[in-house]
């Protein structure tokens, strides 16, 4: 049994690594994926492009402008002079929003009336819009409180009260844990590791087996004295190795290239990855039993991968999903692995907080693998 298994594994390795193109295909795609995902997946709005439409042109309106510029969150990309010009900037998507200071702004500020500043936002991307809205609200608020303090000082001096007015104020001190700079890369890159392991192991396993069926070499394998279990092990073990190799590659690259912090334990990460690969191999094996051609196999892979990735909390928080869908995500192995990987990278979590996820992942792995092996076995006989 040992000998047959060894031969089978050797054959499998030779088959996957023989052709130089296939060799690069095993290692290059994960790296490219990491780079693209790592650089592209980013929901931060570092600097919003806004248009500044000043219809007042007074020292006061320029002060407001310097408040916007000084915040470091805005780039003034245009200064339109008319409505149609502004409309076109928004229509073309050249700016995320327009700040419009209406005529009479300085007069209102000086006379102690409430002066309005219009902020027109391009809501096409609702996420960006709500962030830009918060930024501009803050800038205007800062300007307002400056004016307020001045005004009060004037008023209180007139009323012959002490110069330092007793005005109740509330000051917020915000402290951000785990990811103090709020860099979304730190959150997304560990998630990419999960995606890549899933995609690589799932699709390779499924296609490698179906390929033998499609070109007819499965029959040849079956007339050899190899037993079904050995065949299964021989077909899947190489992909465990490849999955691990890809994980190490991607984790190293993400630490080196993206400088993502790694707060936790690498051994624990490997253990969790092993549990996760059990599930993906099981799923790959299952797809191979229901597909006759490689096209069918990869259509099924994709059909499976899509919802699993979307419902894993990778980009879209599980908290935001409808309750029924949230229940469904408990059946999603990627959800647990995502939680574990992010926990290990960002929070340095250990077994004490991650054990429920590890347990669920292991349980799912055993069940899926057992079901697929049984089905595969039956098909071989």
């Amino acid at each position: 049994m040992r000998q047959r298994l060894r031969r089978m594994i050797r054959k499998e390795f030779i088959q996957t690594l023989r052709d130089p193109r296939a060799r690069t295909m095993l290692f290059l795609p994960p790296l490219i994926q990491l780079l693209i995902y790592g650089f592209a997946v980013n929901l931060d709005v570092d600097s919003a492009r806004i248009a500044w439409m000043d219809q007042d042109r007074t020292p006061q309106s320029r002060e407001l402008l310097s408040e916007f510029e000084g915040s470091g969150r805005f780039v003034i990309a245009a200064t339109p002079n008319s409505e149609p010009e502004m409309q076109e900037l928004l229509d073309r998507g050249k700016v995320d929003g327009v700040v419009r200071v209406l005529p009479g702004f300085a007069r209102d500020v000086q006379r102690g009336r409430t002066a309005g500043v219009q902020v027109l936002l391009d809501g096409t991307n609702s996420n960006t819009a709500s962030i830009v809205s918060a930024y501009s609200g803050q800038a205007i608020q800062r300007y307002a409180s400056q004016v307020m303090t001045q005004r009060q000082r004037v008023k209180l001096v007139a009323a012959a009260e002490p110069l330092h007015p007793a005005v109740p104020q509330v000051d917020t001190r915000t402290r951000v844990w785990f990811n103090p700079d709020l860099r979304s890369r730190n959150y997304f890159v560990p998630g990419v590791v999960v995606n890549i392991i899933m995609l690589v192991t799932l699709s390779l396993t499924a296609m490698a087996i179906v390929r033998e069926k499609e070109i007819g070499t499965m029959e040849q394998l079956m007339v050899t004295p190899i037993r079904p279990l050995e065949l299964i092990l021989g077909k899947t073990l190489p992909f465990v190795a490849i999955g691990f190799w890809d994980m190490i590659l991607v984790v190293t690259a993400s630490l080196v290239i993206f400088r993502v912090p790694f707060a936790g334990n690498f051994g624990l990460l490997c253990f969790a990855a092993f549990l996760f690969i059990l599930t993906t191999l099981g799923a790959g094996l299952y797809i191979s039993t229901i597909s006759r051609t490689q096209q069918q196999a990869n259509m099924s892979t994709f059909l499976l991968f899509q919802p699993f990735m979307m419902l894993s909390g990778f980009t879209f928080p599980i908290r935001n999903m409808p309750e029924i869908v949230q229940w469904f995500t408990y059946l999603n192995p990627m959800r647990y692995f995502m939680e574990i990987v992010r926990g290990i990278f960002l929070r340095g979590s250990g077994i004490d907080t991650l054990w429920p996820d590890l347990l669920a992942l292991g349980g799912l792995g055993v069940i899926v693998l057992w079901m697929s092996v049984r089905r595969f076995h039956k098909q071989l006989e």
């Binding site: 995902y37 002066a115 819009a129 000051d171 700079d181 699709s203 259509m299 999903m321």
Partner: protein
């Protein structure tokens, strides 16, 4: 070039598609599934942020701040705790995203007219949710502080000064800021790219791998005819997918459609043609289906999903990536689709995107047939 031979190839490819019921079902189920997922389940809109409160002050003044938090739809108070360690535990186990700590001298400072402090603790691991949550919380406290200030002033001087400057925020195009409304139109592009790339990338590699290419070569069919024939079969399938996306998007999710239908269809057709031609090119360049499949996910699905401005805005990416994104056709198509759907703009603004799509389609088709000719010869 003969129309009859092209038709024959198209017919053969059609039969292939129709006979393989499972792939056909997958090709139709894929868009429906993605639409349902994105339409119903996935959202970036942040509300009901799970919040814990640690109130050391415990007076009616601090209570009124807590009431503001309770009343806001953006926060959900999951508990009031005593001490920092329960907050830490709730954040570690991801039960809470936000902790609000009100210090013991809070009401004393406020009534003395001094500056009172409120501490916010935010779980920053999901930075997007965190920064939006932080913005909401700071905004809420700001409004609260403004109210306190006015009350104090009324007590002291009998009248309150109004706020000197006020932001009037107006949102255009997607007035209610629903993330679904910008995701669903872009999804059409992603779906077309996936289907086109996945189906056509295997079509020629399969003939090589199964040895049927030799049979095809012995017929009088020319590379150009083969390419057009294969393309037209998948073009029909792609159009079906597009119709499904439109019907579901408009009928089920009520995504607003402000622009011109004809332009939408023409642009989709041109984009689909380009995407299919790209699949064909990959297929002609690779002899095994596995390689063709991997290359097509890498060059069609990933860029369409990530480098197109579909969810992640291009402006935030490093310049190298922004440069790469210039070569992603889905990006121009998504630009057009969002413009047509949400802004209702027409060809007068979108002509350049459209022109690029046409050029891309024609160019790639030319390269695909050339590659095919090389391989065949």
């Amino acid at each position: 070039m003969s129309l009859r031979r092209t038709r024959a190839i198209a017919r053969k490819e059609f039969l292939h598609i129709l006979r393989d019921a499972r792939s056909l079902i997958a090709a139709i189920a894929q868009p429906v599934l993605m639409l349902l997922l994105f339409g119903y389940a996935l959202s970036l809109d942040v509300d009901r942020i799970p919040t814990v409160i640690y109130d050391l002050d415990r007076t009616t003044v601090s209570d009124s701040l807590i009431k503001d938090f309770r009343g806001s739809r953006y926060f959900e108070i999951i508990g009031e705790v005593r001490g920092y360690s329960p907050i830490e535990k709730d954040m570690d186990s991801r039960r809470a995203l936000l902790g609000v700590v009100i210090p013991s001298d809070y009401s004393k400072n406020l009534s003395a007219g001094k500056t009172a402090q409120v501490q916010l603790l935010v779980d920053g691991s999901d930075s997007n949710t965190a920064s939006i949550a932080k913005g909401y919380a700071e905004g809420l406290i700001q409004t609260y502080a403004e109210r306190q200030r006015q009350q104090a002033q009324i007590q002291r001087t009998g009248s309150a000064l109004g706020a000197p400057v006020e932001a009037q925020v107006r949102v255009w195009y997607n007035t209610n800021l629903v993330s679904r409304d910008y995701i669903v139109p872009g999804l059409i592009a992603v779906i077309l790219m996936i289907i086109a790339g996945m189906l056509t990338s295997l079509t020629i590699a399969r003939e090589w791998e199964n040895g049927t290419m030799e049979q095809l070569l012995s017929t009088p069919v020319r590379p150009m005819e083969m390419a057009l024939g294969k393309l037209s079969a998948y073009f029909v399938l792609g159009l079906v997918d597009m119709l499904i996306s439109l019907v579901v998007g408009l009928g089920v999710f009520h995504v607003p459609m402000k622009g011109n239908w004809l332009l939408l269809f023409t642009a989709s057709g041109v984009f689909l043609f380009g995407a299919l031609a790209w699949g064909l090119f990959i297929s002609a360049a690779n002899r095994t289906q596995l390689a063709a499949y991997q290359l097509s996910t890498l060059t069609s699905f990933l860029p369409a999903f990530l480098l197109s401005g579909f969810i992640y805005s291009l402006g935030n990416m490093p310049y190298v990536i922004q440069f790469l994104a210039l070569f992603v056709p889905a990006r121009y198509f998504i630009d057009m689709v969002k413009g047509i759907f949400l802004k209702g703009v027409g060809l007068e603004l979108l002509w350049f995107d459209f022109l690029l799509l046409v050029a891309y389609g024609v160019g790639i088709f030319y390269f695909a047939t050339r590659k095919l000719r090389q391989k065949v010869a």
